[in-house]
Subunit: 251 residues, 2 copies
């Protein structure tokens, strides 16, 4: 690979992801970090990017602003969202929970994917307005401000009328014995109703949720069909889950 090609590649990464991590790029290209660092130094001196410890960021905030804002979520959640989005098949009816992780899922749905997204989160509904092919169904109800989702009897009733193919659930705790749990009773009810309305349920688990438990139990682990966990969690932390009879996916 030519040096100039490499620099173009670096700028491409910057455009698409809003950031460059020297280490990971060097691994992708099979080159030493030194070479990447040299390139970054030169591109920085040309003013084409901004050098920072560990990699680089866009030179003019405005350019990479959009991409960067997408990535401003913690690494793990972005990865989980991207991995989960790949599980959605064209034509499916998908239920999306509220929360930052599912928001990443919504943002990573392929732009040419035709599907229907059912959600009780106004935030996710607004995010999907930009998506050209996805039909959005909003579940109404009393707004629970802490999580920014609709809850209550009206929500339960609306959910009962829906038959979805798959439900992506967010939780605040998942534990081999305690199962799935969350911090609010109303939300636990809603999540249970959403599970009942979907053929399959997948749980999105960022690192800090693993082996944690919250006050209100949603369901046992045996009731779910799969979990998608953040990359970089220790394999032995997952051992207790891999025997439970559902798929465990590393993002």
């Amino acid at each position: 690979m030519l040096a100039s090609q490499r620099k173009e590649y670096l700028l491409g990464v910057l455009r698409e992801t809003g950031q460059i991590v020297a280490k990971s790029v060097s691994q992708e290209l099979g080159l030493s970090e030194d070479t990447i660092r040299r390139d970054l130094r030169e591109l920085a001196s040309e003013g084409r990017l901004q050098r920072v410890h560990g990699g680089a960021l866009p030179a003019s905030p405005a350019v990479g602003d959009f991409a960067a804002r997408q990535q401003l979520a913690p690494d793990g959640k972005v990865a989980i969202g991207r991995a989960a989005a790949k599980l959605v098949r064209p034509g499916q009816v998908v239920i999306l929970d509220g929360g930052t992780t599912t928001l990443q899922l919504a943002k990573h749905l392929p732009l040419d994917l035709k599907a229907t997204v059912v959600t009780h989160s106004p935030t996710i509904a607004v995010a999907l307005v930009e998506h050209p092919c996805v039909e959005v169904v909003l579940i109404g109800g009393r707004l629970f401000k802490h999580s920014v989702v609709a809850v209550g009897a009206a929500a339960i009733e609306a959910i009962a009328r829906i038959r979805a193919d798959v439900y992506f659930m967010g939780v605040t705790g998942i534990h081999p014995q305690a199962g799935l749990s969350t911090g609010d009773l109303e939300e636990a009810h809603i999540k249970r109703a959403l599970m009942a309305s979907a053929s399959e349920t997948y749980v999105l688990v960022s690192a800090e949720k693993l082996n944690a438990a919250s006050p209100y139990v949603i369901a046992a682990l045996t009731e779910i069909d799969g979990m998608i966990v953040a990359p970089g969690v220790a394999a032995k932390s997952l051992a207790a889950y891999e025997r439970k009879g559902f798929s465990v996916t590393r993002a």
Copy 2:
């Protein structure tokens, strides 16, 4: 995640939630509290936030916030929103339509006002999350992306179960003979249902909507209780409306 991105993330949290709790952020990012505290200390020394016990608060309360929230909306809509917000009495149940003008209304509700806001606009629901005292009820349904509001049979049904004190309607046209009109048939139905569920209906009219008509009629002028018009419209343009038996308020 790069260190500089982490600081951006912290400032983002501050913008969106108005505060930073060191402990919870460290859990979200999977880093130690020490690292977060160091970042906060540095950002504080740069004057970009105010360090407090347990986390951080905005450096200049509501300064950037206020500027940001106002810059996008034209003056006229801001004025209409502010004027309409003054019509809301404590304890009332208020229906807010979708649209940029009603969004301004929501943002100008006094922070100490206790009231219930019913809306079929996820955008408005999200905006009101910041309001400390307002209860929000979200009307669900199929999302009409052009206007970012819920429509359809499910929405109509949910609306039928509500009795509100006042409804603030947005329109795309108001005309002495043609009455109130909008550009989408589904939306016209929803607005009619919302009118039926409210004791009083006020219409928010920015300058370009005055004396205009759109394809789908919502109601005749005789059915509304008042209109709030943008400041600076000629008095003679309003003459035709002041004889119709409802109040005409200049913002």
